[in-house]
């Protein structure tokens, strides 16, 4: 019987010829990523709960400080120090202030065919390069770190056939929010979203990252694209080689299938406080905003900054709005500097910050206050995620966010 891409990656990692949904397998992990959200907890457990601990393979570990950068309190400073010291003592790759973890992983580590655990729910992003990335808790990460292995319940795969091409002014963010809006926040619980079809070929790796990144917002264990020539080109440009390039078999088993016609997608927004409460932007137009956020592992890449800069160029951010622009990585920042995008944002009155998670996770930069409204390209709009419990978050594309920042209320770019 045929296998899906996800099943093939698990089979390879488990060292078995075939797996099927529902099987439990012990797998060898190709890589593990942990960020400053939880690494200090993992380190504490490693030091205090284990007898004679050792790290199976430090070279497979990556520690990334991205959630509170630069640190905002003695408490976060202490947990980051613990992480830094541990990385240094154990020869673990360590990144600090260089970007959001998933962006750094994509730029520097992820290879097609790999099975990667990350102590962060948006680890599913790595499917954009044909890897199986999934989020785990710090206990699972600790087990993986010490043994080099873990167990996996092979998930069912749901196929998403993408057809057509996104219209001008409509972005992968609109597509993915539309998908989540249709299938619901638990629509693919513990399943794999496999994106395929002609429409998938129209999407760059950066575009695919948006789709995979947000898969967890529909409950998915991960999401994945076939590592096609577009993915391999991205990889080659960064001097990496695939572990394995898989296609799903003709007779692979899918739990179910959906088809989305990209040409019919329109600009949408997710309303507070649920990612699946998705409506056309038109329906929320006119909502006065206090802050706009362009950034995150979801939409802080060069494409997003280009879209945002094109909209704000020669204009000013509305007086009462704080427009945060946060490149997803130092690489993105440098590229944006070179292209003059950073200058455009600064001239418009935006607040351009160092690469980090920022207000997407409501931490140290751009926290919103009582009853404030944020429109964001971040990953989530859960109650209180970006600050005060009474605040509200709308999610939209880079274009919608940038246009809203200028207008001072939610609008689409074409309404500006």
């Amino acid at each position: 019987m045929g296998m899906t891409i996800a099943e093939k990656i698990i089979a390879l990692a488990a060292g078995v010829p075939a797996v099927k949904a529902g099987d439990i397998h012990t797998v060898t992990l190709d890589r593990m990523m942990s960020n400053d959200g939880t690494t200090h907890l993992t380190v504490d457990m490693y030091r205090n709960k284990l007898n004679h601990p050792r790290i199976a393979d430090p070279q497979k570990m990556v520690f990334i400080v991205d959630h509170n950068v630069p640190s905002d309190s003695p408490k976060t400073a202490a947990s980051q120090k613990k992480m830094r010291d541990f990385a240094r003592e154990n020869g673990i790759d360590f990144w600090e202030g260089k970007g959001v973890c998933h962006q750094i992983m994509m730029e520097n580590y992820v290879c097609p065919g790999e099975l990667i655990f990350g102590a962060d729910s948006h680890t599913c992003t790595y499917g954009a390069l044909g890897a199986f990335g999934t989020g785990v808790g710090c206990t699972d990460l600790l087990y993986g770190m010490v043994t080099g292995t873990s167990w996996v319940l092979v998930p069912e795969t749901v196929k998403f056939n993408l057809t057509g091409k996104l219209p001008e002014g409509v972005y992968p963010r609109d597509l993915m929010l539309s998908i989540i809006g249709q299938i619901g926040a638990n629509g693919v619980n513990y399943q794999v979203m496999e994106f395929t079809g002609d429409g998938a070929k129209t999407l760059s790796v950066n575009d695919r990252m948006v789709l995979c990144n947000l898969a967890v917002e529909a409950g998915a264990k991960t999401a994945i694209f076939e590592a096609d020539e577009i993915a391999l080109e991205y990889l080659a440009a960064r001097g990496r080689k695939p572990k394995a390039v898989f296609k799903s078999d003709e007779d692979a088993v899918y739990q179910r299938e959906y088809t989305f016609d990209l040409s019919r997608i329109q600009p949408v927004a997710a309303r507070p406080d649920f990612v699946d409460d998705v409506v056309p932007v038109k329906e929320v137009c006119g909502v006065r905003i206090d802050e706009a956020f362009l950034g995150s592992c979801s939409n802080g890449r060069i494409d997003d900054l280009r879209v945002g800069a094109a909209i704000v160029k020669g204009k000013k951010v509305a007086d009462h709005v704080r427009f945060l622009v946060v490149p997803a990585s130092q690489e993105v920042y440098l590229q944006a500097l070179d292209e003059g995008l950073i200058s455009i944002f600064m001239e418009s009155g935006a607040i351009v910050m160092n690469p980090n998670c920022s207000v997407c996770w409501g931490s140290c930069q751009g926290v919103i206050g009582e009853n404030e409204v944020l429109i964001s390209t971040g990953t989530r709009n859960f109650k209180g995620r970006a600050g005060h419990p009474s605040s509200r978050v709308y999610l939209g594309s880079a274009a919608t966010v940038a246009a809203s920042a200028v207008k001072g209320e939610i609008c689409t770019a074409e309404m500006l």
Binding site: P74, R84, G97, R322, L334, Q365, V367
Partner: protein
């Protein structure tokens, strides 16, 4: 009898022939600066005092900088209160994310030579760099000025600091002011005005003078002043009038103290934890392992500071496991540094470049440290607990020294970091 610069400014302000130290006079205020942290308190006091309006809205400048970007849920409350106050009283001069208050006050032209300017921040002494009388006050006094346009002051005695000659390569005005604070002590100029003069001072850019005026408060000074010159006029975008041109210390003026330095004698120094007047030569401290470097603040976050740092770091990398945080002093500084490739050089070296604001200097965010960590910083204070816990060690230095330390991962003199 002759007058010092500050005496000339105050007597001109009150329309008197002359004033002498110790006189208590009421000055007409030319401009005030209100910063975000203090705004809710100022507004509450102002309302409580019962003034119907602000004395002159054009003379009031509101600047959000300590709390930008917001790091806690209630921070944005300060913006809201400031916005509402500005709206209610017709205040147009409002900067919500343009940089540090003191940088903006001079850079955006709010302060002119000879002005009397007060701000709700102790580093308001900065504006003496363009020959203004400026000093920090509390929020209650600010509220009173907003209503009356006046403030009582005691005419300070003046300490004259004369520096002649040429500073050695790699020595910045930060090294000069740190040494001075060390010599005077943290309270050595309390209630006094520091008047800087001499050929070395004349050669300095307005930015370099700002660094020195900024830190005058760290010796306890009420204010610090430089004679306005052509550089000042160009910086302020004005022609100096006769009064402004007259702002030099008269040869027969009475000084409480005169300190004379030869510029060639200065060397790179640091203020060691946790007193600003605990000054040591960088050479003596070489080898001390560090965890972080901060380049920024109203003291040393200007274009020339970033450029010096970029020159040191070009083609180099920040040492492994060391963080370099760069926080430009203003939006304009950021834009110019971007245009000149300075930010690129710094980012390529591995710097974390933040949005302009007070950043780490005010200790609310921007790179807070933890027990046992050591930071080299270009700002103005190394007080206990200012950047995290009381077990954090803060060394204050020039941008050149700070950048070299970032590359080396330990304290070194600029040029020794390779």
């Amino acid at each position: 009898m002759g007058q010092t610069i500050i005496e000339k400014i105050i007597s001109h302000n009150i329309g008197a022939e002359s004033v002498k130290p110790g006189d208590i006079v009421t000055v007409q205020v030319d401009r005030v600066m209100l910063d975000d942290i203090m705004i809710p308190f100022i507004v509450a006091k102002f309302e409580e005092m019962g003034f119907p309006q602000v004395w002159d809205a054009d003379k009031v400048v509101l600047i959000y900088d300590h709390l930008v970007p917001a790091s806690q849920q209630d921070d944005t409350r300060h913006y809201k209160i400031g916005d509402a106050f500005a709206e209610k009283y017709g205040i147009q001069n409002l900067h919500r994310s343009d940089g540090i208050c003191h940088q903006l006050m001079t850079e955006a032209g709010y302060v002119k030579p000879g002005d009397a300017v007060f701000g709700t921040d102790s580093h308001t002494t900065t504006y003496g760099c363009v020959g203004a009388f400026s000093t920090g006050i509390g929020y209650t006094e600010m509220a009173a000025i907003l209503g009356t346009g006046t403030l009582w002051v005691k005419v300070p005695e003046t300490i004259r600091v004369q520096i002649d000659g040429k500073l050695p390569e790699g020595v910045m005005s930060k090294d000069v002011i740190l040494r001075l604070i060390g010599d005077l002590g943290a309270d050595g100029a309390t209630y006094r005005c520091l008047e800087f003069t001499g050929s070395a001072v004349e050669q300095m850019t307005v930015s370099s003078r700002m660094t020195m005026a900024n830190m005058a408060i760290e010796a306890g000074a009420k204010c610090a002043v430089f004679t306005p010159d052509e550089k000042t006029a160009e910086y302020c975008g004005i022609q100096l009038d006769d009064f402004q041109k007259s702002l030099t210390g008269d040869s027969d003026a009475v000084y409480a103290q005169t300190l004379i330095y030869q510029a060639e004698d200065f060397e790179p120094v640091m203020a060691c934890p946790s007193q600003v007047d605990k000054i040591r030569s960088v050479k003596e401290l070489e080898g001390t392992i560090i965890d972080q470097v901060f380049i920024g603040s109203c003291t040393n976050g200007r274009l020339e500071d970033l450029k010096v740092a970029a020159d040191v770091l070009k083609g180099k990398k920040v040492a492994d496991f060391v963080k370099l945080i760069v926080t430009p002093a203003s939006r304009k500084v950021y834009e110019e540094a971007a245009a000149q490739g300075i930010l690129k050089t710094l980012a390529e070296a591995g710097a974390i470049i933040t949005h302009p604001g007070c950043g780490l200097c005010c200790g609310r965010t921007g790179g807070i440290l933890s027990d046992g960590e050591r930071v080299v910083a270009t700002n103005n204070r190394n007080f206990l607990g200012r950047m995290g816990t009381s077990k954090v060690e803060i060394y204050l230095a020039s941008p050149a020294t700070a950048a070299a330390c970032a590359a080396a991962g330990r304290i070194v003199s600029a040029g020794q970091e390779a």
